[in-house]
């Protein structure tokens, strides 16, 4: 039994590859220029497509390999292109697909998976005959192996999609998914200028600054790539400090993997206090500078 792993974001391959390796042999597929680290996660072969946006052609290739029996399961990173491809493969190959799984167990005749439902309010545990899965970040802790996979460039079949142009997103130049410490701000910040109160604190603990959906997408106090949440990045730092974040379930879904969660919020009844390890009820503008002083001691 062999599986395949696909992610257009190469940074997500290590975790998914580690999951697939636990089930047996697997091949990994990605696009773009191959980074050296891709070959260190135990894939029998790493295949590189020239372009990730030709989702129809990628789905054609992978669904044919599922139908032919070359692969039993496909694990696909839950990215924009990954979800599109997973849906296409599922229908083309006529196999069931389950989305955003956070746990996977294989038995002889079925698989058992877990995923969030109702916007993160519940966890669905399911038993199914699904063969295609989109995978939530953090499904496994990436582990390298001591041999290198063979890397091969492969061409795609015909696509109806033409890529006209592509531009990198404006980014703050940080990858919050890799951060060890995150200071995350919510609407409670009030306005962008107040970031100056938060910055000394973040730098004192070597944290990157991230934010909730309104902060990044509605008010643009922070760049989009710093958004934590169900529709943003899923982060797993050692320490996650939530400042003025009420703790809507969609936000919690993006930071649930954090080791320690600290919350500061004026509202004693804010849901974030049910999802934190340590919390202070109070005004972040008073508390944060004092915390910086205390950390200097």
């Amino acid at each position: 039994m062999k599986s395949f792993v696909f992610s257009d974001d190469q940074g997500l391959i290590p975790a998914i590859a580690t999951l697939a390796r636990g089930l047996g042999e697997f091949d990994a597929y990605t696009a773009g220029s191959a980074s050296a680290s891709l070959s260190r996660y135990g894939a029998s072969k790493v295949f590189i497509f020239p372009e990730a946006n030709l989702t129809d052609a990628i789905a054609d290739l992978l669904s044919a390999k599922l139908v032919s029996g070359e692969y039993k399961y496909g694990f696909i990173a839950s990215t924009v292109n990954g979800r599109d491809i997973a849906g296409l493969i599922s229908a083309k190959a006529n196999v069931n697909a389950l989305a955003e799984i956070s746990s996977f167990q294989d038995s002889q005749s079925s698989v058992r998976t877990k995923r969030f439902s109702f916007g993160g309010k519940s966890v669905l545990e399911e038993e199914s005959n699904a063969r295609i899965f989109t995978v939530a970040p953090g499904i496994a802790d990436p582990k390298e192996v001591d041999h290198e996979s063979q890397v091969e460039q492969i061409q795609l079949g015909p696509s109806k999609i033409s890529v006209i142009s592509s531009e990198d997103k404006k980014s703050g130049g940080v990858d919050i998914e890799k951060a060890q410490a995150i200071v995350s701000i919510g609407r409670g910040l009030g306005n962008k200028d107040k970031l100056s109160v938060i910055e000394p604190f973040a730098s004192s603990i070597n944290a990157v600054i991230a934010g909730s959906r309104p902060v990044c997408l509605d008010y643009h106090w922070l760049s989009e790539d710093r958004q934590v949440g169900l529709s943003g990045k899923k982060v797993r730092p050692k320490v996650y400090v939530a400042l003025g974040i009420s703790g809507q379930i969609q936000h919690i879904a993006g930071m649930r993997g954090s080791k320690i969660v600290i919350a500061i919020n004026k509202d004693k009844s804010a849901p974030i206090f049910d999802e934190c390890d340590y919390g202070i009820v109070g005004d972040m503008f008073q508390i944060v500078p004092k915390l910086v002083e205390e950390l200097k001691k």
Binding site: N81, D84, S117, S166, C276
Partner: protein, 247 residues
């Protein structure tokens, strides 16, 4: 002239009102229904296409009997014709894709617009399944849609890039929330929408037990919940934790 746009409208339970009982079981019965946020963006995108290029906007809801009134909101926002297909049995994207593709094939269409993921299950699988069922190209997570003759040019938002792509029509386009700000319809339009006819039909989907739910419960928070109501106590305690964890 113009383009026939079909907009797929999803009706979901109001997630804010979903609560777990003492045993952690999730109750979704008798929760008020609302239009999915991305469906509002989809309607807005479809109506803007008609405003700029002419043509017609048809809305389709696949839902329960209770979803029928939701179409009025779509009408108020500018949808020309609305169909509600009842018989939706919960999350089964394969079945949903089959039902929707049959309906779409029965009417004139150039562009099918839908949300890229829905806020309740967040599967994000339906756009691909529907495109495959229809045999059309899918362009995902669009933030702009511009038809040019028999093609469509779409800017799609990826995680680290924005990409412009082109595909032939008919096409399925899934939209991101950033595509637009859905309009708030004026009162006159809301009143007119209330009088407009909504066509309904029902399907009786065959039972599919290939995905069995073992449990559906609220995630347990195993956090310590050490909350300080006096900042003067909390500050030193938290500073200590930060120093220890980030040594």
């Amino acid at each position: 002239m113009g383009y026939n746009t079909i907009v797929l409208i999803k009706v979901i339970p109001d997630l804010e009102q979903i609560k777990a009982d003492q045993n952690g079981s999730i109750n979704t019965k008798n929760i008020p229904l609302r239009i999915e946020t991305l469906s509002e963006n989809s309607i807005e995108a479809a109506v803007q296409l008609r405003e700029k290029h002419g043509g017609k906007v048809t809305g389709i809801i696949f839902g329960a009997q209770e979803s029928i009134p939701i179409m009025k909101k779509a009408y108020a926002m500018g949808v020309d014709d609305g169909f509600v297909i009842t018989g939706y049995q919960g999350n089964n994207p394969h079945l949903t894709a089959t039902v929707l593709s049959k309906k779409i094939k029965s009417m004139p269409h150039d562009i099918i617009v839908m949300g890229n993921q829905s806020a309740d299950s967040y599967t994000g699988l339906l756009p691909g399944m529907l495109a495959a069922a229809l045999g059309y190209t899918l362009i995902g997570n669009a933030v702009s849609i511009v038809p040019v003759e028999r093609k469509i040019r779409v800017k799609k938002f990826l995680e680290s890039k924005n990409v412009d792509v082109e595909a032939p029509l008919p096409a399925v386009v899934s939209v991101a929330q950033e595509i637009n700000e859905p309009r708030l319809p004026p009162v006159m339009q809301i009143m007119a929408a209330g009088r407009k006819q909504i066509l309904t039909e029902s399907v009786t989907p065959s039972q599919d037990n290939s995905v069995k739910v073992i449990s559906n419960t609220a995630p347990k928070s195993e956090r310590r919940k050490n909350i300080f109501e006096k900042p003067e106590e909390g500050i030193p305690a938290i500073a200590k934790v930060l120093k220890e964890e980030l040594r």
